[in-house]
């Protein structure tokens, strides 16, 4: 791409073209990021409203859809408050690593076979490393505010994110083992469009790895069963207690941005990413060069959004764990099981070099059964609530 660009502008030096290109991509990614984080916060509030038999924001714009814009502008207008006793430099610095940690991961997320910021050959390693930046910001925020609640929040986030990074990385290793590459595009290309060709169903150990990945990713994103760093009822607002206005908005953004990263990683590593069936591809290619990519992007978004919505629903359903339970889950269950799944996958690949189709279908159908039960249960609950909870007293 860069070569083509430098051909377009022959008078410019190569480094300048590269810099401009980087800038354009960065702006695009950031725009996408904020355009995701804003509306998803509105969506989350609407979904939360539905779950709680409320309505949720519906006054600002049609159905409240620009609520996030009002929130953003308002926070921008608020007084920028730095506590007197805070460590001022660190306090100002803290939101940026958090924001950066999440946005940097977007660079290697493959939206389609072409649309990717940079297909690094160490992509997965890069994502894990960039994600690790978040914890620096959280600790810095917790420490610099000079408030005991934020300190506790920061310490909690450090403990939580570092311990959950281990099962997270271990579960990613399973994928690396199966695809033989760290590059996300290669990982996706070694999967197929049909569910049985996805890594998640390739063997039972990969399935375990997927579950471990989801749990530890939710923990990395500080979402509800694991939202201890900002536990509202315990630590007031955790690490961001002292933050107001724009600086708070950075944390806010990062939280919802994380959501997308989790969903996108799950989709690309385990669920075949942007892979579309050959029939679609043939049909789309016949229409022109753009359409296959549109299909791919849509497929990727679909898979991502399923997990985003699931995580949102989890947040409004589950209570929060305690610190020691959180550690127990990570060290006693997730980490050993992650090791088991690595070894298991390795053995599986030796025993069944071509894969075992029966097991793939078995896993697929058991997953479908779980989803089916979930849907049935949700519908049942909705019916129940409709018949019983819509109780009106006419006084």
């Amino acid at each position: 791409m860069i070569q083509q660009l430098s051909l377009l502008f022959p008078m410019l030096p190569m480094w300048l073209v590269q810099a401009i290109w980087c800038g354009v991509v960065a702006v695009l990614l950031l725009t996408f990021f904020s355009l995701f984080a804003g509306p998803v916060s509105w969506l989350e509030r609407r979904i939360a409203g539905r779950i709680m038999s409320r309505i949720g924001p519906n006054r600002v714009g049609p159905q409240g859809i620009i609520q996030w814009l009002a929130d953003g502008v308002k926070n921008f207008l608020k007084e920028d408050l730095i506590p007197r006793d805070a460590d001022k430099i660190l306090f100002r610095f803290a939101p940026y690593p958090v924001f950066l940690g999440v946005t940097l991961t977007l660079v290697t997320l493959p939206f389609s076979s072409l649309l990717i910021g940079a297909d690094l050959n160490v992509g997965l390693l890069y994502i894990v490393g960039a994600w690790g930046l978040v914890v620096i910001g959280l600790i810095a925020a917790g420490w610099s505010s000079n408030n005991k609640w934020t300190l506790l929040g920061g310490m909690r986030s450090a403990a939580q994110m570092i311990s959950y990074e281990i099962p997270l990385v271990l579960s990613l290793l399973v994928v690396v083992l199966m695809s033989g590459s760290l590059s996300l595009q290669t990982i996706i290309s070694s999967q197929g469009a049909s569910p049985v060709e996805w890594f998640i169903f390739s063997n039972p150990f990969a399935f375990i790895a997927f579950v471990i990945f989801m749990i530890s990713a939710v923990a990395e994103g500080n979402r509800t069963p694991f939202d201890l760093p900002e536990a509202e009822s315990e630590l007031v607002a955790g690490y961001n207690t002292e933050y107001s206005g724009m600086r708070f908005l950075f944390f806010f953004f990062a939280e919802w941005g994380n959501l997308y990263v989790i969903g996108a990683l799950a989709a690309s590593l385990f669920l075949g990413g942007w892979q579309i069936p050959a029939g679609w591809r043939n049909f789309a290619s016949a229409q022109g060069p753009i359409l296959p990519h549109v299909f791919e992007v849509l497929m990727f978004q679909l898979k991502t959004w399923i997990w985003v919505l699931l995580i949102i629903q989890l947040r409004w359903t589950l209570p929060r764990l305690r610190v020691d339970q959180l550690m127990k889950v990570s060290w006693k269950y997730l980490t050993p099981f992650a090791f088991v799944s690595i070894v298991g996958t390795g053995l599986w690949m030796v025993v069944f070099p071509e894969g075992w189709l029966f097991m793939k279908y078995l896993l697929l159908f058991s997953m479908l059964a779980v989803i089916g039960y979930f849907v049935w249960r949700a519908i049942w609950q909705l019916r129940f609530t409709k018949s019983k909870a819509d109780f009106k007293l006419i006084v």
Binding site: A48, I51, M52, S53, R54, K148, W149, L151, L152, M155, R156, T224, P225, D227, L228, A231, E232, S233, E234, L235, V236, W316, T317, L318, P319, R320, L321, R322, V323, D324, Q325, F384, T385, K388, A389, F391, L393, V395
Partner: protein, 370 residues
């Protein structure tokens, strides 16, 4: 060499988990509490002095504000104390209406407790669901007396309004609707694995401690003491009604842990539904107000009347000197003693447990401070 240092944190008066304006001065080592000193009095409204100033009848509205979450039983307890002192007895229909109102209010109070408990554990949805159900109870109270929170319904010598014509049907309709809702609530949160793990074996109050620290009501029963003022020192029409007293049995952990105290409230809601059903069935027609003089002047005497509020045994100690104003009125409430046990139980818990422990005690700030 790693050195740890105690950290003193002031939790409250404005803190999401302190249910109003309680304050705890907490000494922690990291997450583990070493010492918790409750600091109350942020809502001390001097009810007892006001009672000495305003007189018997005018004090009735203030009793709503002692325990606003369960105001009917406070009304009832105060009315009982004055009636006992002045020798007034309420008509039977009034007694039935009082019990119906008290039990409905017990339901709404326990709903708040269960919801707030879930919120403190981190689940926000059950709280809103509880609020939703509470609204319907409030609708019933609006039918009964026109108020949603501070009812002033139970008066000295009876109740202020008779039940409207369709009250019984509406009430039964509500109960039919509400009983399955309790099951739904249980499905949503009570038997959730994380929830049970968070509450079981946390903040265990032994039977001896519970009695020595004078815990009352559901907190006492949570520790396995089968004592309910409604059963053991019967008042009003409770002897005529058949109901059970749930007692903590340690179903998830030890007897007297937070989960026991929580489940007792859930079960009590079901028992309250039973009581309301029976009371509605048995309720006779007739007067709702006894003949009460405009100025109540009890003889020189003192009474101590006890009533089972949602937060337990509520006592009014009334000293009268023969005038129309009480000489001394002492309000003994469940939350006050429940707060004093925090100091004993909390060391060794974690911060998250302290939050769970406080909400399992169902402390309401104005009941502590009065």
């Amino acid at each position: 060499m790693i050195r740890t240092e105690e950290m003193t944190i002031s939790m409250g008066p404005q803190h999401p988990a302190t249910h109003g304006v309680l304050r705890f001065i907490v000494k922690t080592d990291g997450e583990v509490l070493h010492e918790v000193k409750p600091d109350v009095g942020y809502l001390h409204r001097s009810m007892e002095k006001i009672a000495e100033k305003v007189g018997y009848i005018s004090f009735q509205p203030y009793t709503d504000r002692i325990d606003y979450v369960c105001a009917m039983t406070c009304n009832h307890a105060y009315a009982m104390a004055v009636e006992k002192a002045a020798g007034i007895s309420a008509p039977e229909r009034a007694e039935y209406l009082r019990v119906i109102a008290s039990e409905l209010n017990r339901i709404s109070s326990h709903l708040i407790m269960a919801g707030v408990m879930a919120m403190d554990i981190g689940a926000f949805t059950p709280f809103i669901h509880a609020i939703r159900e509470r609204e319907t109870v409030n609708d019933l109270f609006e039918m009964l007396c026109g108020a949603r929170l501070t009812y002033n319904y139970v008066r000295i010598g009876g109740v202020s309004f008779d039940a409207p014509a369709n009250f019984k049907e509406k009430c039964v309709e509500f109960l039919n609707h509400f009983e399955p809702i309790i099951d739904e609530f249980n499905r949503l949160i009570s038997f959730n694995k994380i929830y049970v793990e968070r509450l079981a074996n946390v903040g265990v109050v032994s039977r001896e401690d519970a009695i020595a620290y004078n815990l009352v009501g559901p907190n006492l029963r949570g520790s396995g003491v089968r004592f309910d003022v409604r059963k053991d020192i019967p008042y009003s029409i409770y002897p005529k009604i058949d109901f059970n007293v749930p007692v903590g049995i340690g179903e998830a952990g030890k007897v007297g842990d937070c989960y026991d105290r929580y489940m007792i409230r859930i079960r009590e809601m079901k028992e309250s539904c039973k009581i309301v059903r029976q009371a509605l069935e048995q309720m006779p027609e007739g007067e709702i107000m006894a003949k009460v003089p405009r100025k109540i002047k009890p003889p020189v005497t003192e009474v101590y009347s006890r009533c089972e509020s949602a937060r337990g045994d509520m006592g009014f100690y009334l000293v009268s000197d023969g005038t129309d104003k009480p000489y001394r009125l002492k309000i003994r409430t469940g939350s006050f003693s429940a707060m004093s046990i925090v100091e004993k139980i909390a060391p060794g818990l974690m911060i998250a447990d302290l939050v769970a422990f406080i909400s399992s005690l169902d402390v309401v700030a104005p009941e502590v401070d009065r």
